[in-house]
């Protein structure tokens, strides 16, 4: 495999190594990729440590099994424990979750930024305070609307249903350049049209001299008292076992390992910010899926992944979209078995799979299990469960309005619906127990929340971990609350802002 200069893999580290640099970045996704690039451009000697492998665009293919093993943590089947148990997926590769997400690039809603300012004392974010960071990010990831002609029939039907109901729909803005609509976003973009950090920020970081060590898992943050002095890591061998030691020493460490592994790494390293909030405040935008079968041949795999979002109910805290899944993944996630599952899957070519994203009102937490494995715990509230039921019911109505012949709801015990009347009869008319709802997510947030009060927040408003020296966070762990839209651009903008602060901090240190 040919690799760009500056990318190292397990094949390059066959003995224990000790490295020195100015700044260590743990993770290479929306947070890590951006921070690494910004710090390297700012003149720092940067080393990125990424637990996952380096997989260039040429390796990406519509092979869900092989790709989930390569690109996802735990093969994409991680779980948050609670009622119901919630399946979640995270990227684990160079580029992180930006390699396997849909690429939606939305700025943080102003009402959310206003809330962060008022309730969490996150200064400088409201009244356009983040605009210049958003603009910089959008330029580097090429955030734009789709080219005409790349919207698939599944998304056209979603739009038709919303139009029939008179509901507000927006064209998605995505990190793409002339996306051809191959609909393989979740398994790596095979054309590199999607500008994940793998093909945007990481090459930029390399160009400014950063080094990226893939297949290297950071096990512990090294410290002298409360001063962070580096990290202790291990090569991850191809069979998953621990390989040679990688010891990196630097005065700055930025952890960007996501909302599960960032708090886990801090906890495992004995870092205990005084707020006691580390690992708490987990929010995850619960998703639920509705599958509709049409008479026409939809061929949902043709066309862009999520061309539109239905925003009619954003003030109620949920969005709708059409998301086509490969047959194997769809079959695995449906609440049906045997003949009933066959009844749905045999019509795969005529299926539109839609989903809702709920801005949740409760939080869970991440704890370390004996042995150091993190585990997420999350309890869906009655209020959020009601919104999932209402949101999916409205989505079913939309799909019937678009011409669906039958709709499968994400609830055990609810029969296949054959009309909008059935929605009222079998969904609105019944109380659906939480444990009967199929919920999953790809948005995990909040477990190292930022804010101006060390007594309540883990990090300050620029990601510096309270009550430590030299330790920063730059990922969705920072969010004080869920944001109600796809989080990638918010993570990237905050990471840009945090990097700017780190560079200022470093300049002051050098001057002193």
């Amino acid at each position: 495999m040919r690799r760009p200069a500056g990318i190292f893999t397990r094949d390059d580290v066959i003995h224990d190594v000790v490295l020195d640099c100015d700044a260590i970045v743990v993770g290479s996704g929306a947070g890590g990729g951006v921070v690494a690039s910004e710090l390297a451009e700012g003149g720092l000697d940067v080393i990125v440590l990424e637990e996952g492998g380096y997989h260039p665009t040429e390796e990406f293919a519509p092979e869900p099994g092989a790709m989930t093993r390569k690109l996802y943590r735990d093969g994409g089947a991680s779980m948050a424990i609670g009622t119901p148990t919630i399946l979640y997926a995270e990227g684990r590769c160079v580029g992180g979750s930006t390699v396997i997400n849909g690429g939606m690039s939305w700025r943080t809603p102003e009402k959310v930024l206003d809330r962060w300012y008022r309730e969490d004392h996150v200064d400088g974010v409201r009244d356009g305070g983040l605009d210049r960071y958003f603009e910089r990010v959008e330029r580097y990831i090429s955030a734009a609307h789709q080219d005409p002609g790349t919207v698939g029939r599944d998304n056209q039907l979603l739009r038709a249903g919303a139009d029939a109901r008179g509901w507000k729909v927006v064209d998605n803005i995505r990190d793409q350049v002339h996306c051809a609509g191959t609909n393989n976003c979740a398994f790596g973009c095979p054309t590199a049209a999607k500008r994940s950090t793998l093909v945007s920020y990481i090459p930029r970081a390399l160009a400014f001299g950063a080094r990226v060590y893939s297949d290297v898992k950071v096990e512990r943050i090294a410290r002298a008292g409360k001063r962070i002095v580096g990290v202790d890591a291990r090569v991850v061998r191809a069979n998953g076992t621990r390989g040679p030691k990688v010891t990196v020493r630097a005065p700055i460490t930025v952890v960007c390992a996501g909302a599960i592994y960032t708090p886990a790494l801090l906890m495992a390293s004995g870092i205990r910010p005084p707020s006691g909030a580390l690992g708490k405040n987990l929010t995850l935008h619960p998703n639920a899926k509705v599958v509709a079968v049409f008479d026409e041949n939809v061929e949902g795999w043709k066309g862009v992944h999520q061309a539109y979002q239905v925003r009619e109910f954003q003030d109620e805290g949920f969005l709708m979209a059409a998301v086509t899944l490969p047959p194997s993944v769809l079959a695995m996630s449906l609440p049906r078995y045997g003949d009933e599952l066959h009844e749905i899957i045999k019509d795969y070519n005529r299926i539109v799979s839609g989903g809702i994203l709920v801005e949740d009102t409760v939080s869970g937490q991440v704890r370390l299990l004996p042995g150091g494995m993190p585990m997420a715990f999350y309890q869906l509230t009655d209020h959020d469960a009601e919104r999932i039921v209402r949101g999916t019911a409205l989505l079913a109505e939309l799909l019937f309005a678009a011409g669906a012949r039958k709709v499968l709801m994400p609830f055990d015990g609810v029969p296949l619906l054959r009309s909008a009347d059935d929605v009222r009869r079998h969904v609105y008319g019944h109380r659906i127990p939480k444990k009967h709802i199929e919920v999953m997510t790809v948005h995990l947030m909040g477990t190292a929340r930022m804010g101006g009060d060390p007594a309540r927040h883990v990090c300050d408003a620029h990601g510096k971990v309270h009550d430590t020296e030299g330790l920063w966070v730059a990922d969705a762990s920072l969010f004080p609350s869920p944001i109600g839209v796809n989080p990638m651009e918010t993570i990237m903008a905050l990471a840009t802002r945090n990097a700017e602060r780190i560079l200022d901090h470093q300049a002051h240190r050098r001057a002193a």
Partner: protein
């Protein structure tokens, strides 16, 4: 020494309402103030004495509820400080030197907290290290380690402290205390 233009001495005789209110807060709220507080400016402490009050009631029984802390600079420019025992009467009464004369004891050295050292409980504070204050090695005050923060941003007139006692590598929290600017001092050692 930097200008002390912004220093606003409190009433010379009586503690302010703000001072007494702070001293009456429960420990949980005092802890939050410690976490939120800024590091005081050493240059604005030098050459001043502050009225001090330990917050736990048991300190009244021990006769150490009220005290005075002073700060001075060594010829080399390093900030140090001292304590002065005062009459243990009501906190609404003036702070008067015990016996009518100032008797300095319990000396300490003042530095910003170093994150990499053992005494690093509050990185946002000044450390008053009695172990480096030049006290006799058998002096029990040598084991004290105090942390000091501002209560209000930008002001060094009212400060909150937290005292620990060092027992080998262990640090035992003993009390919170509040300080209010009292009077200039020309003490040096």
């Amino acid at each position: 020494m930097k200008s002390q233009r912004n220093v606003q001495p409190a009433d010379r005789d009586l503690p302010s309402e703000k001072y007494l209110s702070l001293g009456a807060l429960p420990n949980k709220e005092l802890e939050a103030v410690m976490l939120r507080g800024e590091r005081p400016d050493p240059d604005r402490l030098a050459g001043w004495e502050f009225r001090g009050m330990n917050t736990p009631n048991f300190t009244k029984l021990l006769g150490i509820k009220k005290f005075i802390k002073g700060f001075y600079k060594s010829p080399g420019g390093q900030l140090f400080g001292y304590n002065i025992p005062v009459v243990q009467d009501s906190t609404s009464s003036p702070w008067s030197y015990k016996g009518g004369v100032a008797k300095q004891f319990g000396f300490y050295r003042v530095d910003p907290v170093d994150a990499a050292t053992r005494d690093n409980a509050y990185l946002n504070s000044l450390l008053l290290d009695y172990g480096r204050g030049g006290n006799h090695e058998l002096d029990p005050t040598s084991g004290l380690r105090d942390y000091l923060v501002r209560v209000e941003p930008g002001s060094d007139d009212l400060m909150l402290g937290k005292a620990y006692y060092a027992l080998g590598p262990l640090r035992v929290a003993t009390s919170y205390f509040v300080l209010e600017r009292l009077r200039p001092s020309n003490f040096t050692r």
